[in-house]
Every structure is written in C-alpha cells, then in structure tokens.
Symmetry: C2
Amino acid sequence: MRIAVLGVGLIGGSVGLAARRRLDAEVAGFDPDPARLAKAEELGAISSRAGSLAEACDGAELVFCAGPVAALPALAAAALEAAGADCTVTDVGSVKGEVIERLGGEGRFVGGHPLAGAETAGVEQARDDLFDGARWYLTPTTATEGIAYDRLQRALADLGARPQAIDAGAHDRLMATVSHLPHVVANVLAGRAVAALDEGSGRLPEIGPSFRDATRIAGANPAIWADIFVGNRETVAEEVESAAAALSGAAELIRSGDRDAVAAWQREAGERRRLLLEDDLAGGPLQELRLLVPNRPGIVAEIALALGEAGVNIEDMALYPSADMSAGAISLYVAGEEEAARAEGLVRGLGHDATRVER
Amino acid sequence: MRIAVLGVGLIGGSVGLAARRRLDAEVAGFDPDPARLAKAEELGAISSRAGSLAEACDGAELVFCAGPVAALPALAAAALEAAGADCTVTDVGSVKGEVIERLGGEGRFVGGHPLAGAETAGVEQARDDLFDGARWYLTPTTATEGIAYDRLQRALADLGARPQAIDAGAHDRLMATVSHLPHVVANVLAGRAVAALDEGSGRLPEIGPSFRDATRIAGANPAIWADIFVGNRETVAEEVESAAAALSGAAELIRSGDRDAVAAWQREAGERRRLLLEDDLAGGPLQELRLLVPNRPGIVAEIALALGEAGVNIEDMALYPSADMSAGAISLYVAGEEEAARAEGLVRGLGHDATRVER
C-alpha cells in the first residue's frame, strides 16, 4: 500500500510509523518545514521525503492531511487535486465543519479526527502505537464513495484505532461540549481569580486543589487553540452561551437558599459525572481513595509500587500538597469495590492513613 | 491550657490531637454523636468526653466550634453563652458571613477557616500535623478583643498553621472565586455533557483528560456543599453570574472569528494561571513533562521511584490513559528548569519518551 502523509508532526509521524510497521506500507512524506521532514525520515516515520505535495500524492492510495487545523481545508483540497481518481484523502483535524463544507461533496474525501496525542508534541513523540484503542471519528457525507470510506476505516483499524462514523456537525457539537468548552471555562476561572486579586487587598489567593484541577488546561497552546476555537466558532460560541445560561440558572438556584434543592442538584451532578466517566471501566465504578502522607521524594513511588506489584491498576491520580509542601493528600482512583478494598489494605500496610471518599 | 472542641470530625479531631501534643493542652470534646466522640477519645484527639456543650466549655480558655457549616452560628452562640468571660471562641467554617453577622459584635469571638483537610473525611483521618504550613484565615471585627485575637492566633501558629486576618466579606468573596465557583462550574460541565448525549444519537461521548480534570469535583459531597453554597449564597450567586458574563464575553470573542484576538486571550489565560499557581513554588515556575508509557501496573511507581530516589519532587501529576487503557500519557509537574531537565533525563534513562510541554 502506498500512503502519503502531508504534515509530519505527532499525528502524521505516528500514522507513518504505524502504517510502515503494521500495514507494511510505503509512506511518502511532505512538510513545508524541511527540517521536520528530515527528522521524520530519520525517525523512520516516512519511507521517503517528497519535494512537493504533488510528488507525495503521486501514486498514493491513501493521503493523510495532518497540518494545522486552520490549514486543513486548503491542504485537503490541494491533495484531492494532486491525487489520483482512485485515491482516498482524509484529514486529522479536531474540527470538521469547515473542511466538510468545502469538500463534503468530494467522493474521495472522508474527514477524520483521531482522539490521541498531546496537541503540543512534535514528530519526536511519534509512536507506532499512538492510536491503539483510540477512537478515530470519521465524517462521511452522502457524496462519500463507499470504497473510499471502506479503505480508510480498514486502514485505521489496522493502525490500531477504533474508527466510528459521525455526522460532521454532531462531531463538532460533541467536541464543543467535552473539549472546547472546558478550555474556555478554565480560561474564565483563571481570569476570575486574577480579578479577585485585583479587586481585593492585593493578596494572592491561596489556590486549592479544586481550582488547580479546574484550570489545568487554561491557556493551553494559544496557536493551536485559537485555530480550534475559530474553526468551530459558531458551535463553540453556542455551547459557551448554553453553559453561561446554565451558570445563571445555578446562580438563581443558589440564591434561592433552598438547601434541599441545592443538595439535589449537587447529587445529580455527581451522578452525571459518574455516568460519563465510568462507561468503559472494567471492574466497576471508579472509587476514590484519599491518602494523607508526608510530602517527601519517593512517597508516590512507594505507594504506586506497592499497588503495582499487587496488580492494582491506578486509573487516575491527583496530588494535593499542603501549603508548605511538607505533607499532602493523594487521591487514587481505582476501578471497582474489590480493587478499592485491596488498594486500601495495601496503603494501610505501608503505614499510611487511607479513607474511601464517599461521593 | 484548657481547650474545648465542639464537633470532633477531621478538623476538630486534628485540632485536638495537635493541641494535646504540641500545646500540651487539656482538650475537652463534645459531639452530638456519642460514637464519634468515643472514637475521638480512643484516637487520643481529646483528653476527655464532655456530656454537654456547657461541660466542655467549662473552664476552657479557647473553644473551637467544628460542626457542619450550617450549624456553626448557633453552635458558636451557645459556646459564647456557656464559656467564661475570659474565654476565646472560634469556629472553623468555610463560609464566614453568617456567623460574623450574628456574632461579629461579640468581643470574645473570632471567626476562622483553616485551608486544610478533605471535606469528606472523618475523625479517623485526624492528624496532629494537618495544619502544618496551612493558611488559617481569621475574621476579626472592630468589636474583637485584642487579647482574644492574640491568644487564638498564637495557638494556631503553635498548631503549625499560618494565621492571617481577613475581612469576613473579603474571605467569602475569595472563597466564592477560587473554591465555590469551580465546584459550580464542574457541575455545569457535567450537565452539558449529559445534555449533549441526550440531544445526540445516544452515543456516550468519549471523555478526554481535559474534561476529566475540569469535572473532577462535580457533585462533591452534597450535604457539605449544599451548606457551603447556601451559606455563601449571595456572594456565590454574584460570582457565578460574573463567570456567566465572562463566558458570554468569551463566546462573543470566539464568534467574531478574530484569530489574533482569540490567541491573545488564550495566551493571557495561560499567564494568569501561572501567576496564580507559581507563587509559592521554590525552584521556579512549574514545568510540565509529558511521558508516553504502556499502561501496566507498576509503571507509575517505576517512574516516581526513579525520580524520588534522585531527589526530584513531583509537585503534581495527571494520568491520561488511552481509550483501551493499554497505554497512556503521564504529565509530571516539577518546579523549575533544573528539576525538569533532571526529570527528563531520568525518565529517558528508563526507556520512556518524554517531552517538555511548552505553554
């Protein structure tokens, strides 16, 4: 199989590596940055460097467009022009509306979006197993040729991914909710805290773990996120406005002072989060175990090692150091009652306090 | 010194333990739940069980009211009535407005709020070092007797805390911003995602790490949080409305499609978060190191152990397992360039990929 990869960053490079090793494909790479292209070849992510987009597409059965989100519609259009009549062209952008609006009528084009890879990483991070088990959304239209879709989804499955078709608009709404909105919200929370500082005595507020978690993604890579926000602007704006309306509703509920109603709302939120997060967990619902430990180098290791040796898998973890960094709480999340009970026993065996957090 | 602790949960129990061991105090405990009171005595958190609030306060120089937030104003009022003319009474509630409105004119009362302890834990988790280095806000008023304030803040410093005076209203606004608002926002995000599910094809959305972090606190302990929200209702409602307005502004900015302005906003958010989080870190600004590793038991331990043995302290950590749990990314946060470079070398030495995430 002959594949072209246009844009050799983390995603393009990983496609190349996986295609070469798993599909035994010949991978022609092209990138406007010659140094990046040379690096991709050096890492084995591509079989050969093409001097132009057209050269890369020449003879390819499958073309992956893996440039920056904002560049993808033009890149995919150029690829369709350069590629043969029998070639399937796809992209890997995290926003699909614009590219589908432009190319949704092209039978050889299928929009795509793998949920894998840190957005800030480069080709140096490319791995042939990056897509193992990862959802890879595909956005076919009524114009999409069956053979083009079939070839693509088969290749993606061979790369290790789990392809799934979704309407482009539904995809962008879903991403607006579960990815783009949290980023906007994190920015707003960081802004509110700085405003509180300005309005107050100039005292820098003590930042707790809840604030830290809630703003971890504030200000993530501005170049990439400006592209995503602008690329999905109508849908993100609507989603953000819906969230603003929901906040206003919450403000009204809280202001009413109806304690039972507020408690019911809080309970419902907990149930919703569990519903969203626990779908795929083998072993049962996520259990939180809270540990209180001295904050010395190696402490996390000791605990994780003890759990690891006993075969208890840590699904998630959060560290909450105390203000002076001398001690801290660790939240460990494990799947299911049984694992949680085992983890609790192991942690206590190490001499640490551990409690199950009831939610 | 004779101290009374009214309500022996995590905070009250830890006050008792620390006061007994560090201040050599005699600690009389009272709690409406006899089993909890017996447990506190068994754990050494109190010197003696009192049969009533009045008995506990009898002869005490310092009374800590450590019941549920909603019960504190009445509890503190009863304590003031029972306590001697020379006794200082304080509380540990995370909302201060109501108790100060009721008791701010009492010279012997000083409101307090330690930033320590998981809200869901019980007396079993009490520790004598819970407050080491922790900020302990105090909310004196013009009526507060100097001797009462001085005795309290001296005792708190001896318990290991860092007492700081703050106006009760300013305290509640600060908490509304950095603690209560993030909880409301997490609830709203969880609600939006479930709504997206309902409106869509019934497909459960794939939940990424950003959503997970942003909603970790959704639906936290409903009984406690209903008390906090209702106890601080006006201020929380105003803060939530301000956040809603900020979201509307963000929606407008994004809808404008002005990429440069959106990128500038994103950059500013990143700078704000760094400003808020890095104030107290020795070693320099927080650095994120992203690792890609197989998701097998013990892997976190290996890495953390290697770093711990080399004296590299992990300030924060987040695990992002892949969809099929077979592999995953780990973000490690360490303080300062030098530590980050060492951590990167150590991780690479273990054979894992590691990149510094530029923000």
